[in-house]
């Protein structure tokens, strides 16, 4: 249907699309409801270290999923910031990624976990690395006849530290700046094996802070301040909510807090 109808759009949970329709930001000629398509709404584990989330999995079910709670708790931490109970009851991961709102927490998390987006069309399927997924403002790399069917990612190593912080005007509102962090600390407590930091809300797509990650990997957890300082250097948009300079300030503060918490959690895990 998607490849045959003119001006067609898929509707998943509708928690981004329907507000946009209500405000007349979006006009569609044909709306295709995929809420009853079977087999798209579960969290699976195709191999021991991989999680695959069906595109139509409701945000609320992802939040409650035992595998993710245990092996990737940052997902649930971020989802608490996504809208409210009512919208999480309907909203899906595929819908959120397809809209690519600059403030969307799930885009941040997908980037943080280096996810792969699986899409399909009548022409066949393809996998898109999350880094390649954003094209422009609210525009992912999806052709008009393609639909997201799942998102998969490698589960972070057991004992990793994680954190998600966000500044918004009210709980559940669009993030002005959000940061997700994952750190893996070696048993010596001084060497950082892996560090991933992602800022969202600052630009049209989430930004990996690779400079800051390199600082942590070469200098260890003590370099948290220097790593957070890198966050102040990101390109940040100015809009009616906040200036670019204010976003950069928030980026530095939130990155510092997130890294401290992530390292505390990694230490806590190693003590157990």
């Amino acid at each position: 249907m998607l490849s045959e109808l003119d001006g067609a759009k898929l509707i998943a949970g509708g928690q981004s699309l329907v507000p946009m329709l209500n405000m007349r930001y979006v006009f569609v000629e044909n709306l295709i409801d995929i809420n009853r398509v079977q087999g798209l709404s579960s969290v699976e584990r195709p191999s021991p270290d991989v999680a695959r989330i069906g595109a139509m999995t409701r945000q609320r079910d992802i939040l409650a999923d035992p595998l993710l709670r245990d092996r990737a708790p940052v997902v649930g931490e971020a989802l608490r910031f996504v809208g409210h109970l009512h919208t999480r009851n309907r909203g899906t991961i595929g819908g959120s990624l397809a809209h690519m709102d600059p403030a969307a927490e799930l885009m941040n998390i997908a980037t943080l976990l280096d996810a792969t987006v699986h899409v399909e069309s009548t022409r066949g399927g393809r996998d898109i690395a999350i880094g390649e997924f954003p094209l422009a403002f609210m525009t992912p790399q999806l052709d008009a006849d393609e639909m997201i069917v799942a998102v998969s990612f490698n589960l972070p190593r057991a004992g990793h530290g994680w954190s998600f912080h966000e500044f918004a005007q009210r709980h559940g509102d669009f993030a002005i700046v959000a940061v997700g962090a994952i750190v893996e600390v070696e048993p010596d407590g001084l060497t950082v094996g892996d560090a991933r930091i992602v800022l969202s809300g600052v630009d049209f797509a989430p930004q990996r802070l690779r400079d800051a990650e390199d600082i942590l990997k070469s200098r260890g957890p003590e370099a948290t301040g220097a790593a957070a300082a890198c966050a102040a250097g990101v390109e940040a948009i100015s809009d009616a909510m906040a200036s670019g300079a204010y976003r950069q300030h928030l980026a530095r503060i939130l990155t510092g807090r997130a890294l401290s918490q992530a390292f505390d959690r990694a230490r806590g895990a190693s003590l157990q």
């Binding site: 329907v18 209500n22 409210h84 009512h86 919208t87």
Partner: protein, 164 residues
């Protein structure tokens, strides 16, 4: 004008079939097609929570769901809360605790809290306040609303205790 879709759904225990314009929201359907005006529409873009209704056991925004999407679904609106025995426990507690002022947000508050208490009969005040962040009361009468919910939770626990 788009083509109408025959939609059958159960609202507050009663089945209805209507030919529905696909652009009609579920909350508008309840109000205009069924005359159930207890569901209020405030912001119409999912922020204020006034239109909260329960669809297949989960509380959702009535303004962010299309009526055609509720085909074969079970919907509960505020009119479905009171039984033949009178007001529900929560509605009674709202009255006792002065949990409504102007009353505009009240249907949404009742539906949200009904769903929350059904799943978690032992909520903390902090939990309730966080979950209620999706329902806005412009009279800012949150104290009474939270108190009413805590009162109901306590009495639900008491009943369970008696049964055990």
């Amino acid at each position: 004008m788009s083509e109408l879709h025959s939609t059958t759904l159960t609202v507050n225990g009663k089945q209805y079939t209507r030919d529905v314009d696909p652009r009609m929201h579920l909350a508008d359907f309840l109000r205009h097609e069924l005359g159930l005006t207890g569901t209020h529409l405030g912001c119409e873009h999912g922020v204020c929570g006034a239109c909260s209704i329960i669809v297949d056991g989960r509380v959702v925004r009535g303004c962010l769901m299309l009526a055609v999407q509720a085909d074969e679904c079970e919907v509960t609106s505020v009119e479905g809360l009171a039984g033949s025995g009178g007001l529900s426990l929560l509605q009674e507690a709202f009255r006792e605790c002065h949990a409504l002022q102007c009353g505009f947000c009240t249907p949404g508050m009742l539906m949200t809290l009904t769903a929350i208490l059904a799943e978690n009969p032992n909520p903390s005040e902090a939990f309730l306040r966080e979950e209620l962040s999706g329902n806005i009361c412009r009279c800012t009468g949150y104290s009474g609303i939270v108190k009413a919910a805590l009162t109901v939770a306590a009495s639900l626990r008491g009943r369970k205790g008696e049964a055990a």
